[in-house]
Assembly symmetry: C2
Homo-oligomer: 445 residues x 2
């Protein structure tokens, strides 16, 4: 039998020779009998108490409804159990959320831990309700997609400590977000609006055993899932621990030069306000001085109307495998090549990107920051990710890859894309495109 001493102030207690980290006390947020301590903000979906659970019920034609605890929380660890009854109904748990008269007439907005019993199964992801949309779609973490089982009670854990927000469903880590937009706010239970179609109303979302810690918080150990850090040109300690570092320092041209062995372009590229901008005025491509073999790269990019650029890897001269950057709607190259293999996030002229899931709002938007991720594993497999979705997968040098190259514009370039290592290139294609938060880490077996 083990006994733990609880230390109310420090989180550290000495028990014999062992140092045991203990967290502060759990506070219950629900008395199991009535909605004392809760109030409805926005919407008209009914919330009731039955069998020791808070029950939200979908109503046709109502907007999103929220039942909020009557206190605000900043840093906390929250746990509860959730189940769905009567059919799938989108829902969520708002954290650090705000209601302001001057923001959309008092619309509740902010971080939502998604509860998604649909086939998409994005439960545990982090959505920015009525603000920025998806911040951490669970598509980033495929193992998490089977964590939630709508028809039974599911355990939900949320850690919000400083800018780090992490979630677990039934003990499986789902999201790891670093974002400092809102440090504190409401905790609220969502019943999502449903269409006026028959059959969607009367579905129930049940919450029980809602409890929270707000002192002596002990974060869970690292879990290895992808960390999405919205901080600009920063590498968090958690990212550093995984080997991430800035590939562009956010200010200078250090570590970069012009392609084809030239110096960094004297004009045509701007490095200001934490943004690396290709101005589309014949500055020429730029490449990293360092070469990479197996790596994970991420960056944010912003396209302007009609823009064309690209992120090339395993570059030799100016030639390389290319994560295409393109305004698909306005640039004519989108309809050239074969079957869309020159569209945004495609492997240029070789593999078209998979479609993004519909209805998620994560489709790239011109003039807004988008997230690109590129994974090149030691076994040769490569992935292109766009806004958290894996849209291209292939294996460098595989028979399939070779067959694609043999019928591409690179057919006459022997060994195309097969170099053991090479620099990363950002392309000047006579368009204005912005980059920031360019990070890389080596990958080993």
């Amino acid at each position: 039998m083990k006994t733990f001493l609880r230390c109310g102030t420090g989180g550290l207690s000495f028990f014999g020779l062992a140092v045991v980290l203990t967290a502060g006390p759990w506070q219950s947020l629900f008395n199991g009998r009535d909605l004392t301590g809760w109030r409805v903000v926005n919407g008209t979906a009914p919330y009731a108490v039955a069998d020791g659970a808070i029950v939200g019920t979908t109503v046709r034609g109502t907007p999103n409804s929220f039942l909020a605890a009557d206190r605000e929380f900043g840093d906390f660890i929250f746990e509860c159990e959730v189940r769905h009854e009567g059919g799938p109904a989108n829902s969520g748990i708002q954290i650090r959320s705000l209601v302001r008269p001057d923001y959309r007439e008092g619309r509740l907005h902010g971080y939502q831990v998604e509860l998604d019993p649909s086939a998409r199964a994005w439960t545990g992801g982090i959505y920015d309700e009525a603000r920025r949309g998806w911040l951490y779609p669970p598509s980033l973490n495929p193992r998490a997609l089977t964590a939630y089982e709508p028809g039974r009670w599911n355990h939900v854990r949320v850690e919000a400590i400083g800018p780090v927000i992490r979630t677990w469903i039934n003990g499986i880590p789902v999201a790891h977000l670093i974002d400092d937009v809102t440090p504190a706010g409401l905790l609220a239970l969502q019943v999502h609006s449903v269409d006026n179609k028959p059959g969607q109303e009367g579905r129930r979302i049940l919450w029980r055993n809602l409890r929270i810690q707000t002192t002596d918080l002990v974060p869970s150990p690292p879990d290895g899932i992808f960390i999405r850090n919205t901080g600009v040109n920063t590498v968090s300690p958690e990212e550093q621990a995984r080997g991430w570092r800035l590939l562009w320092d956010g200010r200078t041209a250090r570590g970069w030069r012009g392609a084809d062995g030239r110096p960094f372009p004297a004009a045509g590229w701007s490095l200001a306000d934490g943004v690396l901008t290709v101005l589309g005025r014949d500055g020429g491509d730029i490449v990293t001085e360092e070469e990479f073999s197996a790596f994970e790269l991420q960056l944010e990019f912003q396209l302007t109307e009609g823009a064309n650029s690209g992120i090339k890897y395993f570059v030799s001269g100016r030639l390389g495998l290319e994560y295409q950057l393109l305004d698909d709607e306005r640039h004519p190259d989108a309809t050239k090549g074969a079957a869309g293999n020159r569209t945004l996030a495609s492997l240029y002229d070789l593999i078209p990107r998979e479609p993004l899931p519909e209805g998620t709002g994560i489709e790239p938007k011109i003039g807004e920051w988008q997230h690109a991720r590129l994974v090149v594993r030691p076994d040769g497999s490569v992935e292109h990710w766009l806004n958290g979705v894996n849209v291209v997968s292939y294996r460098r040098g595989s028979p399939l890859f070779q067959a694609l190259v043999a019928r591409s514009k690179f057919a006459e370039n022997p060994g195309f894309g097969l170099a053991a290592r090479g620099p990363i290139l950002l392309q000047d294609h006579q368009s204005v495109v912005r980059f920031r938060s360019i990070k890389i880490r080596p990958l080993t077996e």
Copy 2:
């Protein structure tokens, strides 16, 4: 506390209301102290006893060595524990194996449960030593590839009951073979020959807790792994339970007709001696009357020198996705197309097959029976398998598939390969090619 009654004769015992199947008694094959009951057949590698285990040691320049139990076994369930010490050394457990003066001068031959600590990790597969080579390569069952851990004791289970031979490593099912070539024979422990290279000798394979049941055998429940049945034009009860049936009855043209709506060819195809042969004399392609959407197909084929044929699926007219059949060495089409995408087992003119693992002897041979397998899943993913190895994977209709088609000889065939369902076609390409054991089963979600 549970008590089981052992019933020595029937395998069935009544205990209250429950029916409990019990197997016959375990007999130990090793006394833990010396090699009483064992004898060396073939080879000169030393076998000794240490710490309650039989220890075989590799010796440079010796042939394969075998330590055999001094009884023969027919139907049995065998279990033991195995570990490797001092580095990887190929080994195996022979079952139902034979030593005959008139077969390769007394060379031990027959079924071997592979012990393979190399990176290939084919432990638990079934190899036909000094006879037919690989019968069940564990590549057929990728989940099994991580089952064996060379540096620790591993549990091995073998069930050989009638023609059914099944293996488990550490409780994970590895192989499920149906083969009736040898019903009984020796059980023996192999130490594989090693090269004359330094460093390969002195490696040890340890066996302990060797035990066997020979009466009242109770087979393990079905496990869902692929069943390789070498019986000609037969479907075993285990295969029937998984939905397999003959697509060709082994005798008549029932269920088949000529392509393009013609009757079954009056000439050009032979249906004799359990073999369906295209004679290469303008009989024309044949197709199934039935159409298929998601399915698993397997067959054995035999190429003649320079032969060209194919298995087409989702056929419309005579056009369809094609599992190419070709004598790669002699037919000129092997070097046409792009990067080998017209070679044997490739998706014709679209995706070249992956190379087969080297040194396994499973490379296809002209004039011998080879095993083809085609999996079309309800989600659209497709696999071509050749002799137990997955050599082509793609998703029908994916952006990548569409890009391949757009630059292939099918570029001008709208909707190529995208039909919701279609017949299976065997191609007459003016070559002699033989088929048998053509089986299919529908696949559902």
